[in-house]
Amino acid sequence: MGGKSEPAKSESMATTTTSPDLINSSFFSFKSLKLKTKQQELLLRISILGLVYILAFIARLFSVLRYESMIHEFDPYFNYRTTLFLTEKGFYEFWNWFDSESWYPLGRIIGGTLYPGLMVTAALIYWALRFLRFFVHIREVCVLTAPFFASNTTLVAYFFGKEIWDTGAGLVAAVLIAICPGYISRSVAGSYDNEAVAIFALLLTFYLFVKAVNTGSLAWALASAFGYFYMVSAWGGYVFIINLVPLYVLVLLITGRYSMRLYIAYNCMYILGMLLAMQIRFVGFQHVQSGEHMGAMGVFLLMQVFYFLDWVKYQLNDTKLFQTFLRITVTSAIMVGGIALGLGTASGYISPWTGRFYSLLDPTYAKDHIPIIASVSEHQPTAWSSFMFDYHILLFLFPAGLYFCFKRLSDATIFIVMYGLTSLYFAGVMVRLILVATPAVCLISAIAVSATVKNLTSLLRTKQKVSQTGSTKGAGSSKASSKVTLDQSQPFQKNGAIALLVGVFYLLSRYAIHCTWVTSEAYSSPSIVLAARGAHGNRILFDDYREAYYWLRQNTPTDAKIMSWWDYGYQITAMGNRTVIVDNNTWNNTHIATVGRAMSSNEDEAYEIMRSLDVNYVLVVFGGVTGYSSDDINKFLWMVRIGGGVYPVIKEPEYLVNGEFRVDKGASPKMLNCLMYKLCYYRFGELTTEYGKPPGYDRARGVEIGNKDIKLEHLEEAYTTSNWIVRIYRVKPPTNRL
């Protein structure tokens, strides 16, 4: 037993040895009804994990209970559509799918421009269920994929926590991550997005890699390579792994923690992971050609140099000679690497860093250079309040956990510290990356909670022992930290420990309450059906989006082209089954800019653009009646900016008055006559939206609109939903006699 666990790091020896011990001992005491302590612990642990597994799943079902089993938001609709295609047409058709219904007239090669991991996962689950004679609809599978993988993530978190600290930390980590709002925000039922499986894959890869580094086992390294492959297939965030892992290796090399275990783990993981990742069409040769992946390759080469130096040192046995050799080798290796990188970049073989990557490192980059990235709300820098909202007590447990990690520094804790710090930086840069930081924050906080509680309880236990045995020095089993404080003031300490424990449990219960509240109130809205409170506190649902999309589906010709701002592209193709000009896959900035230009031009100019794009219908989202604030008028400045980025005839200041965006009488003439304004406010001047306000009172912006007499020449109103949220206009053919 002891021999088996010897390769494990010395610090965690005490904890890792417990599990084989348990299993062995459980065989002997099988007959006796009374379980031994360790068996009890095992039972307790398994039942806790089981409960956490279920908890993680059911906590994410609020959205199904509140609304219905439906796909949420924007991107999930694309994922759902592709999954449907995959299950209907099979994998090869999916792989080669050329979609002529989006990005008209350019089309989109779906198979080559998506991360297929999510769809394939859902399809496999679907096929497995059908094989087992559970005839479910693919939509149900898609809706429940995210909660299912969130449950799996808790298991990985447990094992990860166990690997870096002990089983207690693992259990706490599992519980914390199961209900952490930062993770729930992206994994409620219906949030069928890449992140749903990607966080699982991310954590799994990290866990397997740390395990490989700890054990030096080729098998674990291979497993982590496959974990990495799954991650690459699921989400573009894999770039985080391929940069964090080399960074971690580099830190280990610098701090003199180079070992054969590390060599095996990294080389195997990198080479196999890279080869596997190349099988994903969307990623292709990026691992050897793009700047973002070059760090990993550099570290790989550095590892070889280290290994070579180790070998030379072993052969040489002459310190002075070796020092000289070391200097020459390291210098020449860095020089060769630098020259290769320089040549590769200069010749264009290695692509420079992409804008998205820059915008991660420099939070202000996107705002200045790539409006299309900056225009997405989830790409905004994170506010402090959202950290508080998403992490709650973890926010201050995190530094405490860091303290414990540094106190017991090992390869594994160095990893989790690096993971935590880098991902927290990225979380500060972009709101959506809170998600990536969540597992690290949960794990580190779990260490803090677990270590604290363990210290406190052992303190309490020591007291009991002390009182029982009468010995004054019974603190042998307790931690060194508690030993220091364990002197004269024993009664105070006991009370203090109890008080602290109560405090910890109070905090944790507050955390649980907060998480439940956030999940049910904030993160379970599908955003396709909007909910509001009526005057009497009753719940009102606005189902305008689906109403509009079904109208399109039923009432327009099958080859009709719909122009809308790109946000709604995926939903129109998935629910309306009609061709769109642009959608949420923002691969062609010029095309989006053309639509932005059409929306911000006057009707005549817009008509020319729409004719050239064969547009039949224009769809706008308008919140002036309901007070829905994320409508097209509020997004309008981004259309102007993106359009102006490509077509300089569109100038942002012309739409502003003294730098202020207005829609009332004081708005700029350009604003009052642009297509978007006209389409949103057409016939709105006749409508009284609020008692005591003049007609044409925009509730989303709280002003009376400036242009109430809107005449449309080239377009005509085709459909407006019951709450005016979606308005659809038909583009008229050119006049007969002119």
Binding site: N96, F98, P105, P733, N736, L738
Partner: protein, 437 residues
Amino acid sequence: MMNLSRSVALISLFLLPLLSFSFSVDNPTDRRVLVLLDDLSLKSSHSIFFNNLKSRGFDLDFKLADDSKLALQRYGQYLFDGLIIFAPSTERLGGSLDSKSIADFVDSGRDLILSADTSASDLIRGIATECGVDFDEDSSAMVIDHTSFSVSDVDGDHTLIAADDLVKSDVILGKAKIEAPVLFRGVAHSLNPTNNLVFKVLSASPSAYSANPSSKLSSPPQLTGSAISLVSVMQARNNARVVISGSLQLFSDRLIRSGVQKAGSQNQYEKSGNEQFVTELSKWVFHERGHLKAGSLVHHRVGETDEPAIYRIKDDLEFSVEIYEWSGKSWEPYVANDVQVQFYMMSPYVLKTLSADKKGLFHTSFKVPDVYGVFQFKVEYEKLGYTTLSLSKQIPVRPYRHNEYERFIPTAYPYYGACFTTMAGFFVFSFVYLYHK
């Protein structure tokens, strides 16, 4: 029969308004024509023109323009296929007719001959404006030309123009050349520059101008020279045809019968060109000539017959379309060497001239460009005088599938070699390392 019905279905897409009970797509010539007069005496003074129409089989229905029972449609269906308005001075049309209902009549694909004259009413001007033609605002102005007037002009104010600047189109004015000048006395008009559907059939000479002949010219005339159009035609997007003339006398028996000699010219003609001009023009405007119809666009891969749902880049395809011309009695194969097809995605990637087989079939074959996307086959045929053919058919073009690329390419053989020698070398090395001691 199948083919016919299919082509009918397709044509109906762009000639949809034509599909009413009266004149069918298969027989586009107008049959029933309403003639609105402001004076029934015009019936006899313009009898040659009207009799000519009657002899060609038209059913003319003469009405006074202010007849209170006037109606163009009944129960939502038009009673007439064509409309002749010879009522320049009428201020209000009878019944429920107004300029808008005349415009609707044209928009429904029906044809119109509108003739103004000096002191044309606002109503007539309004209808003309709807069709892209603006008459001189001065109601007493006439076209005056001191160089190309007719010598038979007895008044001496040079308002009887002998115009010979005709549009060069066999389709509009027939194959036989109009030798004698056309006599014209009336009001000038100009074309709306933003309207590209209207064009001049009979233009004034560069020396013409529009002014009141009985008063002295106090300011330079607004309309001068070639900007003046005497007779214009407009073919709407739905192929409804409109003739607008500035002279009612142009159609009159008097000018048709009169001899003509252009000032400064030795050629003296027994008879003016008016009869031939108005006859040929009426043939065109009532779709006896220059009317085309096209069958559906047919395309398929070379060696196949069925139309695919999607093409692959670099596919070879064949394209054909049938085009027929209406001869006045039957559909004849259309013969031309200038019909083109575009393979279009935002701009034409392929532009090919179709070769005709004299049986109405236009055909070509080409290779799909190395670009994927949603393309359109487009036939946009706009030839002076002919009906506009505007056909398109959407077809997506996909890139290669994963298994359609070439498997083994010669340039890659060094890499294959390198790959396999590395594998073999690794195997040998491992074997030697493990078992050779």
